[in-house]
Amino acid sequence: MNAPVIARLRKAALVGNPNAGKSALFNALTGARQKIANYPGVTVERKAGRLMMPDGVPVELIDLPGSYSFDATSPDEEVTRALVHGEFAGEVQPDVMVLVLDAANLEQHLVFAQEVIELGRPTVVALNMVDLAQRDGLTLDPDALGEALGVPVVPTVAVRRKGLTELIAAIAVAEANFEADSSAHPRPHLTLPERRLAARNIAKAAILSVSATRQFHTGLDKILLHPWLGPPILFALLFVIFQAVFAWATPFADALEGVAGWLSDMVMVILPAGLFRDFLTEGVIAGVGSVVVFLPQIIILFAFILVMEATGYMARAAFIMDRMMAGVGLSGRSFIPLLSSFACAIPGIMATRSIADPKDRLTTILIAPLMTCSARLPVYGVVIAAVIPNVKVWGAVGLQGLVLFALYVAGIVGAMVVALVLRRSVTAGQASGFIMELPRYQMPRLRDLAIGLWQRAWVFLRRAGTIIFAATVVLWLLLTFPKAGPGESQLDASFAGHVASGLHVAFAPIGFNREMTLALVPAMAAREVAVASLATTYAVDSDDELQTEQALRDQITARWSLPTALAFLAWFVFAPQCLSTIAVARRETNGWKWPAFMLAYLFALAYVFAGITFWSATALGL
């Protein structure tokens, strides 16, 4: 084609109420893999992708946070408002609006829809979730809806990729019309009550029939939101998750450990003794390998979280937790970011954008790192496996899983106490309310779960291959040079050993040994590095080859006392050892003040609690 140089790509934006399926549609149209989940407020920033049009010219498609109104109340809604009005920094106003509506909740979604249509931009409606509408016994007439709204309407099922071709065609038409006549046609603005009335009438006209079907989710909610049954069910579920993380992962983790051992053997056989062989066995296999063996546990943890998110249970958990959160001056709205932080504090801190109250949001950001993220799992896992016997208590409960659960609870309790204190001091303000839509339940789709798990596993492995690998290699070099003279231990002679001895002065009072102290330094990059560096340190420090190959777990069993090991666990409940978290906290709070505060208070807590743990365990004679 010899078309003249196109000034810029055409741009279309996905707008609509939260949880309408915008991101699902975005993924289906662009092949992207944005997070989708069944609760409102999943997407909190703009994301761009490319949509190939039938004529071969791509359109820039933008996924936006869901919004109930252009009168924004939370930071994520503000992103949508600004972008749609062409006020977003560095971004021109989209040419076409793709308005995504939930077919099973038209009356509500049509209110904001009118606000979008009033903008006068070319608009196409994706009448999404028609499958759910059907499940709820609704028969809809898309043409009648289109007639009433004055814009084309295309029925879609984003997650089954239905209606996509028609939707793309409609976008193409809207875009072409816009080019032909590029002046916007703003429509008369209605007031909210007027819009609401219109929405009711339009919905009535578009719904052909309503057959009474048993509403599956009301039945489920009777149990899951039951005042006395709901909370125990939630706690039992959380408990099962942590038991499963240990119990189910063991065979897979053992297999991975076997592979690492075999690799190490192979290297020993193939390569001549020397620096390079040591580098591979001590640095790469012992170090990075010791982290990678936690892949099965990470996958199990994420599988539970993803199922909770996809079914719609997450919003119910927020409902149940609201009372407790209110007790410390927060709301159930903070619960979802905090629960996301169990996976990783970074998306958790991002997710706070859906919290309207700034003080609430800041408090949630500050306590998010206290939620036990998956990066702590390798640290907890290896230390627990090394010092806590694998026995059953009370019949069927694994002691190791119980200790893990206790560490998670310690993080949660710590977070609650900190929130309570913060809300009375630095983030004092009016207690805020809790207003949240509870989405309909859905069966999780296996494909989405598999993709979600694969993404998380990939992120974990990529971290192992980059940041953890790099930190481990540097540490190995510092541990290997200068070479020890005869009769001297390598650790004592090495550069890292000297650093560790210096730092150890500060950490000896709380029971840390020199290797642990050393591990804390590279672990500033990411917590898992602590495990990799311990493994490398012990591998370098071992006198003979047999010992080098010993799993880190056995090394710890042999070398650490119980109080020391427990103090190390307590340290990691609090310590903010993650550069990315600090960076994202800086971005989300617009400055260094709050991340600095976060670092200071968390390190102080870590030190104090590790100390208390060590001293009391010692006093108890453990």
Partner: protein
């Protein structure tokens, strides 16, 4: 009956009983939250049912049903709304 006309607080409404909001004291609700409630369709004239109330015998939060939607709110919001049972 007069007491019904003047309405009862939503807070006091029985679970599962349909009602209509006849007035909302917006001054008792934080402005941003009022905005959010209105955007969700909670306003004078809305038909409403309480589906769930509180946990462990407490009264917070509430899950209310409007049309085809379930929304969690707090008791302070419910206390600001007067309803008439239908």
């Amino acid at each position: 009956m007069l007491w019904q006309r003047s309405g009862m607080k939503l807070e006091a409404l029985e679970r599962g009983a349909p009602a209509r909001i006849i007035s909302v004291d917006w001054s008792a609700i934080a402005p941003e939250e009022g905005k959010r409630l209105r955007a969700l369709g909670i306003d004078r004239g809305t038909q409403i049912t309480i589906a769930h109330r509180g946990i462990f015998g407490g009264k917070d939060p509430l899950a209310i049903v409007i049309g085809r939607m379930t929304i969690a709110i707090r008791r302070v919001h419910a206390a600001a709304m007067s309803v008439e049972p239908l």
